[in-house]
Symmetry: C2
Subunit: 382 residues, 2 copies
């Protein structure tokens, strides 16, 4: 990417030399008081070590591969750094948890320039300073394709007493116990955890996928489809202010960290982030919760920019576009009424949880007629 | 790899179908009482969630890329699963910590067969049942090259009172404080952490790279060079019992989990695992600790099998081979004398920590003459 005459090939520095240069970016960007809470050891030893005071931690990982999840030359290196962290932060937000720290793995072809990788790390510094989850370590490996894997740890925002409402709500919910064994992932436990008992025993409140109840209202934060619209803008070569905003939504999504914590603090128990398209993701939540959903398309919040760029397609883009990183959640009407105006971001009620084939989502138009939906994309195929 | 007529291409199952099949392997392999301690949520939600009772956790990640760190067709899928976990478990062992759980990311080309990936997961189940670090979640992405990234969490084995000896020992050590900032990785902190003060404040004992002191004896567990020998066996096409043992050391290394905990429990403060070759890794420890080292080559433990296969080269292989996943540690003579016979694995004292150019390692032969060393390989170049 960089084209000045002084370009330094990153591989010429060796692994430790490169780590030192990239760590410098994070260091220079840090303000007083930034940093991993309780950090004992960061990069330079076999493991990072952190003193953890919370009772319940959450763990997630997401990977971006060149040519699959992004294209160098299309996304800037700084945005790539931002986005690789954002997708993980969004997972933490959608649990109602707070980010603690990250491990960053770079798979490098050896052709990357140092200045490009430094830009990548500036993007990482940008978002971790704003939203947390600072880098405590990682790994750099050689690879025929550039990829970035982030593993992130967070801590439950609400524990013990604060979860009392949650626990009562979960116990009273529509869930049945699963037959999951000794903590191992099973086909059954993948779809439904013993939410009530585990949550109660644990004392921590988390926003789960499997805790929707029939009668809940379904809502989303922000607007839906802008990131998918950004991808279409790139494919179609559109330009202008609206197109630029959509591209920014695609390249530099802002995960809803504070909103996630606000939701769990105010008694919401079921949420996920919108990464694969609202229809697909809502289907996953319904499947995990053993329920169905009905969504009113006119209620799905769509930006004026998306409508302006794609006056004919905005509905399809909003339903199936993906990578919105907004929060999709459900709650009984009284909880929703209290939460909607008080979590600091726009909330739109888009439908409700109903009985039916588990996982089935019906989207209806302004006259109540079902809208044919594109199937959500699959990570392995798409 | 699989060549039977019923081969199922893994990508035909889609991401969730594949996750279900692979999770089944872990489930079927699990015995009662296995599983992640305190698991609240495993795969199927946005994050894994775990109730943590320890005060200090460690975090590490390691990646294996096809064609760089292994070759499909050369290593079996089951061994590949084993090894991808072993390299992370070894990092946890070398901190004196106990493994808690793992996130596994698979980068798949789409050409892998289901049966091969199931074998991979059987290898993962083999080692986690034996040594811990069971899988709590992960990610599957499409990639032009097969890769496996594991992010692992562990907990300090010794905390508070148990670390009293450690703290005293650290405070009395040869370390000086670094100028590291607010917990951010810096060029300085990469080489030297504020070991004494952080360790004391934290109350947890960890085996660190930066805590060697002049006068310490240096030791290693097991034998050195077998894995590097296995790689040479493959390149040279050797066969026979000795060659097979070396290949096994390369494909299925056994990290020193119990020995790591035993070391930290008995007051050792400085260790790392041998991944890049004993000369290179000892150099890193010396650099981090601001000291130099002298190693007597005849004291370096080398297996009869390595000598049998490579009678002329075994010294070079032992020094620079890498991927031994033995523990390299230092301690004052009285501590070493107590520890060596009591950690359950063979321990060989190979040299001592001396004053000198930080990071410099001198290896001498049986007559005290310096041996010319090959430079340790670099992850980015090798």
């Amino acid at each position: 990417m960089a084209s000045d005459g002084t370009e330094i090939r990153a591989s010429s520095l060796g692994e430790f030399g490169l780590i030192e240069r990239l760590a410098r970016i994070l260091d220079e960007s840090a303000k007083d008081g930034d940093g991993v809470p309780g950090l004992v050891l960061d990069i330079g030893d076999d493991c990072a070590a952190i003193r953890r005071e919370s009772l319940t931690d959450v763990y997630t990982t997401d990977t971006m591969v060149d040519g699959v999840h992004f294209r160098t030359g299309e996304i800037s290196w700084r945005d790539l750094g931002w986005k690789s962290m954002a997708v993980n932060l969004s997972d933490v937000a959608s649990m109602g948890a707070r980010p603690v720290m990250s491990l960053v793995t770079l798979g490098l072809t050896g052709k990357e320039s140092l200045s490009d990788l430094e830009e990548l790390y500036r993007g990482i510094a940008d978002i971790t300073q704003e939203l947390g989850g600072v880098v405590a370590g990682g790994d750099i490996v050689r690879s025929p394709v550039l990829f970035i894997t982030v593993a992130m740890t967070g801590e439950a925002a609400v524990t013990a007493g604060g979860a009392a409402f949650n626990r009562a709500r979960l116990m009273a919910g529509s869930m049945t116990g699963s037959t999951a064994g000794a903590g191992y992932p099973t086909a059954a436990s993948q779809l439904k955890f013993e939410a009530g008992s585990k949550q109660a025993a644990d004392g921590a409140a988390l926003l789960r996928r499997d805790a929707m109840s029939v009668g809940d209202l379904i809502a989303v934060t922000g607007t839906i489809g802008d990131s998918g619209g950004g991808l279409r803008v790139l494919a179609d070569g559109l330009s202008g202010t609206a197109a630029d905003l959509l591209k920014r939504a695609h390249f530099r999504p802002v995960p809803r960290m504070a909103a996630g914590v606000a939701l769990v603090t105010q008694g919401v128990v079921s949420a996920m982030d919108v990464s694969d398209g609202i229809a697909d993701d809502l289907g996953k939540m319904c499947m995990a919760s053993g329920v169905a959903a009905k969504v009113r398309m006119p209620a799905v919040p769509v930006s004026d920019e998306l409508k302006a760029c794609f006056p004919d397609d905005f509905t399809a883009i909003a339903l199936a576009g993906g990578e919105d990183y907004e929060l999709l959640f459900s709650a009984p009407e009284p909880v929703m009424a209290a939460v909607a105006p008080s979590i600091g971001v726009p909330v739109s009620v888009i439908g409700e949880v109903i009985e039916g084939e588990p996982g089935s989502v019906t989207v209806v138009d302004e006259r109540g007629r079902p809208i044919e939906m594109a199937v959500g994309w699959d990570h392995l195929d798409g």
